[in-house]
């Protein structure tokens, strides 16, 4: 499926209709989902109705903007009224949301068409999409490999052409990592830029919703619509939302900081080559390269697994079998209801995170773990502040490696956690960051590069990313899509 901007143009010129796009999307899902397992729920009837409304608007000469009639998919931890929201967990199997996330309301008001809900690691805890209770999602570029996680469904849906636009969520890199592994553009906005009302909470000081698209313009158009203050989310930023634009192919006057610590030991040579190539292209476009340092970034993963797990252990206390979701049968009292429903309903990774978090917050360990993690988090934020004195944006890998084989990191939780070492610092500091397709391995697996900008400077981030995108070329199309592509 073509990028959002092209489709919007074709819709505006009357060359295609929204219903046609939805039928294309549904056909592509029917064709490819048996191979990839991206969707947990497809809302064919709802999508066709919304597309009809969009086409009727256009027939009257009205439009709701650049996303009017554009199909999109939603990670299954973001709720939409009347649709299931499982978070890829048994504990929410069968749960149908009685309300819309603010994101969904805004997209509906903008005419976008929700096609369905896509797979994720259970409760967004994971880096490979292998931790879904309903089966893993495969990478469209190489089906023996993971799409990355936890928004693997969102990124695989866009990469395989099932939808031109999707939304995921991030706590430690869960949009950028799969975007890199799948060869699409994934944005994590600043903490508080997009309302989280209707996003199932994981790590509340870190969580943020982000768009995924084929191009920078797609995520810019989406962010322009979904960003902004929401009375229902007290952490949303009050700053006004500009109309986000992509760059004009010049980076004259821009300072691009190459993060020293993230290009050294442990970085796959082909990933390092992509970052160096991106840096060269920045320079050719007129940017000045500067060497920057994030000396405390090396503590990011450790801080993250204390902070996010501590917050998760509190947030997931609400899943208790009493009010909604799974209830264990045959229990004698309330205590057993809680314990048995949770133990039977949660998967291994979720239990592991709850255990880490509960341990870190438990009596006698709080200062040693949570207290120290908060010290280190302050130092990481200060690192970014210093780096952004020297540079307008920061450039680095998204992940030390390209996509790995299914099963490779499942027996080693720590190795899986270290997959996120380069994305986590932005979540801890709250700054916006983006994964941009920058090349591929010799075997054809996509590689993304990461750009990061100061807090609430998505305008700068998208401007630079848009310019660089033109120089790097689009991400490669997956073979199985190219074969069947019109």
């Amino acid at each position: 499926m073509r990028p959002v901007g092209e489709l919007a143009g074709a819709l505006a010129r009357g060359e295609i209709g929204s219903l046609e796009l939805v039928e294309d999307s549904l056909a592509r899902i029917r064709e490819l989902d048996p191979k990839l397992h991206v969707f947990l729920h497809v809302d064919e009837a709802g999508a066709r109705e919304a597309a009809d409304r969009s086409d009727a608007r256009r027939a009257r000469g009205e439009t709701l903007g650049p996303l009017d009639g554009i199909p999109y998919a939603l990670k299954d931890n973001i709720v939409a009224r009347g649709l299931p929201s499982t978070c890829a967990s048994r504990i929410l199997e069968g749960f149908v949301s009685p309300y819309d996330a603010t994101l969904v309301t805004r997209l509906r008001d903008a005419g976008a068409v929700l096609v369905g809900k896509v797979n994720l690691d259970e409760f967004a805890m994971g880096s490979s999409n292998e931790h879904s209770a309903f089966g893993l999602t495969r990478n469209p570029h190489e089906t023996s490999h993971v799409p990355g996680g936890s928004s693997g469904g969102s990124c695989a849906a866009v990469a395989s052409g099932m939808v031109p636009l999707a939304f995921g969520s991030e706590t430690g890199g869960s949009v950028r990592l799969p975007a890199s592994f799948c060869g699409v553009v994934g944005l994590k906005p600043s903490y508080g830029r997009v309302s989280r009302y209707g996003l199932v909470a994981f790590g509340s000081s870190l969580d943020q919703i982000g768009p995924v698209a084929r191009t920078v313009q797609g995520v810019a158009d989406a962010l322009s619509i979904v960003a902004g203050l929401d009375p229902r989310d007290a952490t949303t930023a009050t700053a006004p939302v500009p109309r986000y634009e992509t760059g004009d192919d010049s980076l004259l006057g821009k300072r691009v900081g190459v993060i020293r610590e993230l290009l050294g030991e442990g970085v796959d040579p082909e990933v390092g080559e992509c970052v160096r190539r991106a840096a060269n292209e920045c320079e050719k476009l007129g940017a000045r390269l500067v060497d920057v340092s994030l000396p405390h970034a090396k503590y990011g993963v450790a801080v993250y697994y204390v902070v996010s797990s501590a917050e998760a252990s509190s947030n997931l206390a609400r899943f208790d079998g009493a009010r909604y979701g799974y209830r264990a049968p045959g229990v004698r009292d309330l205590e057993e209801l809680y314990t048995e429903s949770r133990s039977q309903g949660f998967g291994d990774e979720v239990k592991r995170r709850i255990m880490i978090g509960t341990f870190a917050l438990s009596s006698g360990y709080y200062d040693a773990y949570y207290g120290r993690a908060m010290h280190a988090r302050a130092l990481i934020r200060d690192d970014f502040a210093r780096a952004f004195e020297a540079a307008d944006v920061l450039l680095s890998p998204v992940s030390p490696t390209p996509s790995f084989r299914i099963g490779d990191r499942m027996e080693d939780p720590l190795a899986m956690y270290l997959t996120d070492a380069m994305t986590i610092p932005a979540n801890l500091a709250g700054v916006p960051a983006l994964s941009l397709p920058a090349g591929a391995t010799s075997s054809g697996l996509p590689i993304g590069v990461q750009l990061q900008a100061p807090y609430l400077r998505e305008d700068v981030l998208l401007e630079v990313a848009g310019s660089l995108e033109g120089a790097l070329g689009w991400g490669p199309l997956p073979a199985l899509v190219a074969e069947g592509a019109a």
Binding site: P98, Y99, A322, T339, R352, H375, R381
Partner: protein, 98 residues
């Protein structure tokens, strides 16, 4: 190093019941993860600042005006057991059966 007894204690706090093989596995895995997290022991902070949250905006409280909330029947319909007015759970004290 995390002992099996520690794992069982934390599981009780977290309202999880673990099979013996889960206790065994988690003792090993949590030990490895906590060993890694011990990397934070070397962090030195001059300011002593503890950052719990970034960039939460200062915002005046909204007016305390009642608004529409979700309809009760829809919420009760989500409960595993409910009647027209309340959700049902087993007795808080043991011995009631569910």
């Amino acid at each position: 190093m995390v002992t099996r007894e520690q794992v069982r204690h934390v599981a009780r706090l977290a309202k999880l019941s673990l099979a013996p093989e889960e206790v065994e596995r988690l003792a090993g895995q949590l030990g490895e993860i906590l060993d890694y997290i011990a990397l934070l022991d070397e962090v030195e902070s001059d300011t002593g600042e503890e950052l719990t949250h970034v960039a939460v905006p200062e915002r005046p409280l909204r007016a305390d005006e009642p608004g529409a909330c979700l309809p009760r029947p829809e919420i009760l319909a989500l409960a595993p057991r409910a009647d027209d007015e309340t959700m049902h759970v087993p007795p808080v004290l043991d011995g009631g059966g569910a």
